[in-house]
């Protein structure tokens, strides 16, 4: 289990993480959601010990970054997604995968499996200087998979990927989760995150403002785009209006009579609506919408 204990970190006056306490279990995908510059990458860097918090500590399997020796031990269990701009231009993709597999004591045979799984065979033996952004991004992800650590920190892995590749990587993420890995991901692709994340943390002002377990997120909401007609229909019903013009009405909070009346009104006025659990995009709008 990975524990973030009372972690506070500030850059000058700017408090990025404020007394954060979190616990993450193996076999889960954790999403970190927040607008840019609100602490997602900072939290990942604190977990890696690239940034040392002014207060608090990170603990994994009862180990903390209390010594250089422990740091090496922890880095044997924790691997982070590298930046595609940092790839060695004169080395092939296969060299990169072998490098990470070897550095983390994994067999080179796993490299071939990863290449096949991520459909990289056509370019893996070319130098990375010739790769497109999407190819580099896929390689960086493959490197983390090759390291095969029990904790994987993935900061914006879907950036620059086409839908096909997003889907491909999503499948691998689910497979990794099934194998018991703990994956912590910072992502802006909320729809995609919703597909496989078990738990999503919304960060703001150094705090986790919402920690949602998507497995338990079954409560249904009626979702309506804002208009004059909609406004008049729902004016007497408790609802939440988002900055993007979406209105959310919790069905659990309506009695049957009100529900029937509301449906009738919407049908009569030909107003489209959706009934589904609250999405990460909705929550993003709630927390960060202007």
């Amino acid at each position: 289990m990975l524990k973030i204990k009372n972690v506070s970190l500030a850059f000058g006056e700017h408090q990025v993480l404020d007394n954060l306490n979190l616990e993450f279990k193996q076999g889960q995908i954790i999403g970190l959601v927040a607008p840019n510059g609100t602490g997602k990458s900072t939290l990942i860097n604190v977990i890696l010990h690239n940034l040392i918090p002014q207060r608090g500590e990170v603990e994994y399997d009862s180990l903390t970054y209390s010594s250089n020796k422990n740091e090496v031990k922890l880095h044997k269990s924790i691997c982070a997604f590298p930046d595609q701009n940092d790839l060695f231009p004169y080395m092939t993709g296969r060299d990169h995968l072998k490098l990470y597999a070897d550095l983390w004591h994994n067999s080179s045979s796993s490299v071939n499996e990863i290449i096949s799984q991520l459909q990289m065979a056509s370019y893996i033996d070319k130098k990375t200087a010739t790769y497109s952004l999407g190819m580099k991004q896929r390689l960086c992800f493959a490197m983390v998979v090759a390291a095969d650590t029990s904790v994987m920190l993935l900061d914006e892995i879907m950036n620059g990927l086409d839908p096909q590749n997003v889907s491909l990587i999503s499948d691998v993420l689910i497979e990794l989760k099934r194998k018991g890995k703990l994956l912590i991901m910072a992502s802006h692709l909320l729809q995609n995150l919703q597909l496989y994340a078990d738990r999503v943390l919304f960060l703001k002002s150094g705090h986790v403002i919402q920690d949602i377990n998507l497995q338990d997120n079954k409560e249904l909401y009626l979702k309506l785009q804002d208009s004059n007609k909609v406004e008049s229909i729902i004016k007497n019903i408790k609802h939440l209006k988002l900055a993007n013009g979406l209105n959310l009405i919790s069905l659990a909070e309506l009695d049957n009579l009100k529900k029937e009346k509301l449906m009738q009104d919407l049908a009569l006025n030909l107003i489209p609506y959706k009934v589904e659990p609250i999405s990460l995009e909705d929550l993003f709008e709630i927390h960060y919408g202007e």
Partner: protein, 413 residues
């Protein structure tokens, strides 16, 4: 895992554009040295048969005049007594004329071993007349007067050196030819040139190779930052990799010099004699000789220490100040500080404790050949003396590296 990191660092070193530039510059410098500089190097004590013949003719002519002076004086008691020059000529010229004749005969027979044997006696005899007896009839070659501030001593140093060289070569087992006697063979060129500013230039290359050993990793920060290896191991690997890269560069440069010079002058032999100054000008023989092979073993030992010192120093500075330019400037200052400060002022005579400073021995060749002893005016600046300060500095630097690499305040990337 450790092998993988080592191979990665090796790849990074050899693919670093700055290092590739340094490899190319080294090769160009080596080519220039081998093709232009070494062949045009002026040799003071070169084998010049016409010059020996001319000198012999002069001496024979002068001794005839001296004979006449003595005859005139003997025949007429009222005549002027023989001049001091004539007296000295009568006393000294016969030996010189005899040796000159033998030298010429040896050259006519292409017997360079015999030439070396008669020549060392010639130089030794002439030097004793010049340096110890200060006879005015003779002078050292003009180059000793035009190039240095201490012509008497420099001439004595030069003649004593050539005496030891020729004696060693004439008594050695290796066959001797003109190029060997003039120290033009590849191995002899390397031995002679690896001293003074040449070695400082090589150390500057070491500084430039190593100044970005740590900062270059910044380009690949997120890949290398969190790998599960201790900082001490990573720094140690970088040290070894830089050492291999630098040795490789120097060996290639030396090979280029050998390929440029060997076809023309021959490779030479490791059993050839190398003169080493013993530290006192008034010994009968101020130089002893060791074999070229032994000289290169000593040189290699000191060079390895000096290279490791500068790699360690670069890594240490880079660990504290993550700026390759500052690292390069500071290490180059350390490399040249002795040469531009106390060496140039001749302070060794005044401050003998300078022999305990490692900086004194960075020029290596000067120390091994005894030229440093000559400059400092005392024995004891050679291999045995240089080894300890260099070793102590290297150990000290690596202890500091160990301490700082275990400090959590200093990261590699």
């Amino acid at each position: 895992m450790k092998r993988t990191y080592f191979l990665l660092q090796l790849k990074l070193f050899f693919n670093n554009p700055k290092n590739i530039g340094l490899f190319i510059i080294s090769a160009i410098v080596a080519l220039y040295f081998g093709l232009v500089s070494a062949p045009n190097h002026h040799i003071i004590e070169k084998i010049d048969q016409p010059a020996i013949q001319a000198e012999l003719d002069d001496h024979q002519a002068f001794i005839k005049i001296a004979d006449k002076e003595f005859q005139r004086s003997a025949n007429n008691p009222n005549a002027m007594p023989p001049s001091k020059g004539a007296k000295e000529a009568k006393r000294t010229y016969p030996t010189i004329i005899k040796l000159d004749k033998l030298r010429l005969q040896a050259l006519n027979n292409n017997n360079y071993r015999a030439y070396a044997s008669f020549s060392w006696q010639w130089y030794h005899y002439l030097d004793s007349l010049l340096f110890q007896k200060a006879i005015q009839n003779y002078t050292y070659p003009s180059e000793y007067y035009s190039q240095t501030n201490y012509p008497g001593y420099d001439g004595h140093y030069g003649y004593s050196r050539i005496t030891a060289l020729y004696k060693g070569l004439s008594q050695g087992k290796t066959s001797v030819n003109k190029d060997i006697l003039e120290e033009r063979t590849s191995l002899q060129i390397l031995q002679k040139s690896l001293s003074g500013w040449s070695v400082i230039l090589l150390i500057i290359f070491v500084c430039l190779f190593t100044c970005d050993l740590l900062t270059y990793d910044q380009k690949f920060r997120t890949i290398l930052k969190n790998i599960p290896l201790t900082k001490t191991f990573q720094l140690g690997t970088k040290l070894v990799v830089a050492f291999i890269g630098i040795i490789f560069n120097f060996l290639i440069s030396f090979l280029i010099i050998i390929l440029c010079t060997a076809p023309r002058y021959g490779l030479g032999s490791l059993s050839l004699a190398v003169p080493i100054y013993r530290g006192r000008p008034y010994y009968e023989f101020s130089f002893k000789t060791i074999s070229l092979g032994r000289y290169f073993v000593y040189f290699s030992m000191m060079a390895l220490l000096v290279i490791l010192i500068f790699i360690s120093l670069s890594i240490l500075i880079s660990l504290l100040i993550k700026n390759s330019y500052i690292t390069a400037i500071l290490t180059i200052i350390v490399a040249v500080i002795a040469k531009v400060s106390y060496f140039s002022l001749g302070m060794g005579y005044v401050y003998p404790w300078l022999r305990y400073l490692p900086t004194t021995y960075f020029t290596i060749g000067d120390s091994l050949s005894g030229y440093l002893s000559y400059l400092m005016g005392t024995p004891g600046w050679g291999f045995q003396w240089g080894l300890m300060p260099l070793l102590v500095l290297l150990i000290g630097l690596n202890l500091l590296l160990l301490i700082f690499s275990n400090s959590r305040r200093f990261s590699i990337i």
